[in-house]
């Protein structure tokens, strides 16, 4: 190959360092000596626990509700399908804070649905772990829906036809053929949704609040800590970086074909 143009190489190097330098700075400024101490403090421990529980729950909820939605979008022709798809895609581009405000108006104590939830079922979402899960699911589910819908569309419909001619009911076809064939993308979509939920900040703090031990997730804890204890913020950030790297590696090696 010919030598690449110098200007391009320089700009590419600049872009690469743009990603590398902040990570290096994080590692450089990290209070490595006091790391175990900070990690075991009450605030960090509970933030880590809330984040893991809520993000896993949001990922599971995304799969549980998003899979049927993806199936409908991929397989059932109906008027307004493209409108529905746009609606599902919206949280991807919507500023999460706006999503949080919208959720508040719908499911908050005085919201459209929230008022009924509270008076009939006594369910309050603001300031609770379920509220965190709802906010995270709102921003995370689109990743799963779009991933799975794409996979279902790419699936040869004759697999389902073949199963039907062999005597399988539509339900059986879904469980034994469609779902297993789409499983890799369901898993990939769930991991993407989980990563998105883990990093969620705007919608969560708006909709569920910032209560340590209740709704304070890792990203919210990082932001809060930054205001008074930089070392704690750095340690929390490092944990999130480690988790993200883990997701990236897992996704590459398990669920996407190697290029």
């Amino acid at each position: 190959m010919r030598r690449p143009p110098r200007a391009l190489v320089l700009l590419a190097a600049l872009a690469a360092s743009f990603f590398a330098v902040p990570l290096a700075a994080l590692a450089w400024r990290a209070p490595w000596a006091s790391l175990p101490e900070v990690l075991t403090t009450e605030v960090v421990g509970s933030a880590l626990r809330i984040s893991l529980v809520s993000s896993l729950a949001a990922s599971a909820l995304s799969a549980f509700l998003g899979l049927p939605l993806a199936w409908v979008l991929a397989r059932v022709p109906f008027p307004g399908r493209s409108v529905l798809r746009a609606l599902v895609t919206l949280p991807l581009v919507l500023p999460p804070v706006v999503g949080g405000v919208a959720l508040l108006l719908a499911l908050g104590r005085l919201g459209l649905v929230g008022r009924a939830l509270e008076s009939f079922f006594g369910v309050t979402l603001f300031g609770t772990l379920p509220g965190v899960i709802v906010a995270e699911t709102f921003v995370a589910m689109p990743f799963l829906v779009l991933t799975v819908e794409g996979a279902l569309k790419g699936l040869d419909p004759r697999y389902e036809d073949a199963a039907a001619t062999l005597g399988a009911s539509r339900g059986l076809v879904f469980w034994k053929i469609t779902l297993p064939l789409a499983a890799p993308s369901v898993a990939a979509g769930a991991v993407l949704a989980w990563a998105r939920a883990l990093g969620e900040f705007g919608a969560t703090i708006t909709f569920a609040g910032n209560l340590p031990g209740e709704t304070q997730t890792m990203p919210i804890a990082v932001y809060t800590a930054l205001l008074r204890d930089v070392d704690a913020a750095i340690v929390l950030s490092l944990v999130l970086v480690a988790v993200s790297l883990l997701v990236l590696v897992t996704l590459r090696e398990r669920w996407t074909p190697q290029a």
Binding site: D161, A163, A164, T165, L166, G167, A168, S169, L172, I177
Partner: protein, 350 residues
């Protein structure tokens, strides 16, 4: 046991309008150009596409009748369907592919697997039972697909281009085995193909679909003797013209006249085997009958013979030996003289 179907259905721009009858133990082969609706017809009969009008009955049982709002879904039609490219489930082992239909019909796992194992042994592919379909060769995949379709003991067996996915070397042997397997199946057999050899080898009866309609129906020998469309004439390798019979000659619709030994009065077809067409470099001396000139439009080698397409006042395909090609130095684009014997032309009413 018999299948009777009057099919009116739409799929994209295709309007299917075909009547199909097939008896148990009979192999009906559907042929036709691409897009004629062969696969669509199978899918409609299998219940994978809806009828817009008509009726499908099997042994007197109505499978579908839109007028009576009756429609059995595919899973309740007792059809073994071998799809083009076989469509084996990639996430199941070969054994579980074959056992799938039995499981879907409520067999226990052990019983379904035991029966599937028997089918694989019958087909001579039992050693692949625990493999995934992707390791199979085309011929093996075809046998698995056939075993999968037959394992549920269907009343109808549909095969869509069963040999198209195979390379030419494997085709002859798989075709022979397929014919034997078809012979052991005592239900109704429908096969779609675009390959003349396959059609003639497998068919008890051939149904020619063109543009969604049945253009001709008959035994392979009837079709080869008296083709009724240019597609089927080419399919069986004959020249075919349409025209008016005038006793001792045929006035061709495409222009020109052809002398024949006997032509009934009225609309007729005139068919001629390409081997009965002679080619000359200059006008033939002696017999002046049925001689014309044209331009060589194409040369195609096929099994030790060369088919020469001649365009002219009467377009015709001649079949000659490679030696004759060399001797006459036939080259595309050059002028050539054509002669045919009146007694070789077969004329029959249209």
């Amino acid at each position: 046991m018999s299948l009777e179907a009057r099919v009116r259905a739409r799929a994209g721009s295709l309007a299917l309008d075909a009547d199909v009858r097939a008896a148990a133990g009979e192999t009906v082969v559907l042929v036709g150009p691409n897009g004629a609706g062969k696969t669509t017809l199978l899918r409609v009969l299998a219940g994978l596409l809806p009828l817009s009008e008509g009726r499908v009955t099997l042994d007197g049982e109505v499978l579908e009748d839109p007028a009576a709002r009756r429609r059995l879904p595919p899973e309740r039609r007792s059809i073994g369907f071998v799809f083009q490219d076989y469509v084996l489930f990639p996430h199941l082992s070969v054994l579980d592919n074959v056992a799938f239909g039995l499981r879907a019909r409520g067999c226990s796992k052990d019983q379904a697997r035991a029966e599937a194992q028997e089918w694989l042994e019958r087909m001579g592919i039992a050693s692949y039972a625990s493999e995934r379909p992707r390791v199979l060769s085309g011929g093996q995949a075809q046998k698995v697909a056939l075993a999968r379709a037959l394992a549920t003991r269907p009343r109808l067996l549909f095969l869509d281009e069963p040999l198209a996915a195979l390379d030419a070397g494997a085709r002859a042997e798989v075709r022979r085995e397929l014919k034997a397997s078809l012979g052991r199946f005592d239900g109704v057999r429908l096969v779609v193909t675009h390959d003349p050899v396959e059609a003639m080898a497998l068919a008890d009866r051939v149904l020619v679909l063109e543009d969604g309609k049945v253009a001709q129906e008959g035994t392979p020998s009837e079709l080869s003797a008296h083709p009724r469309s240019s597609y089927i004439a080419e399919f069986v390798g004959l020249n075919l013209w349409r025209g008016r019979g005038l006793g001792d000659r045929v006035r061709l619709d495409s222009g020109g006249e052809m002398l024949v030994s006997h032509a009934p009065m009225g609309e007729v077809y005139a068919a001629l085997h390409p081997r009965a067409v002679s080619l000359y470099r200059r006008p033939a001396e002696g017999s002046p009958r049925n001689v014309w000139s044209g331009r060589i439009a194409g040369l195609e080698g096929e099994g030790g013979r060369v088919r020469v397409r001649v365009e002219g006042s009467i377009p015709v395909v001649a079949e000659v030996t490679p030696a004759a090609v060399a001797e006459l130095s036939l080259i595309e684009g050059e002028e050539i003289w054509v002669s045919i014997k009146a007694t070789e032309v077969s004329v029959y009413p249209a």
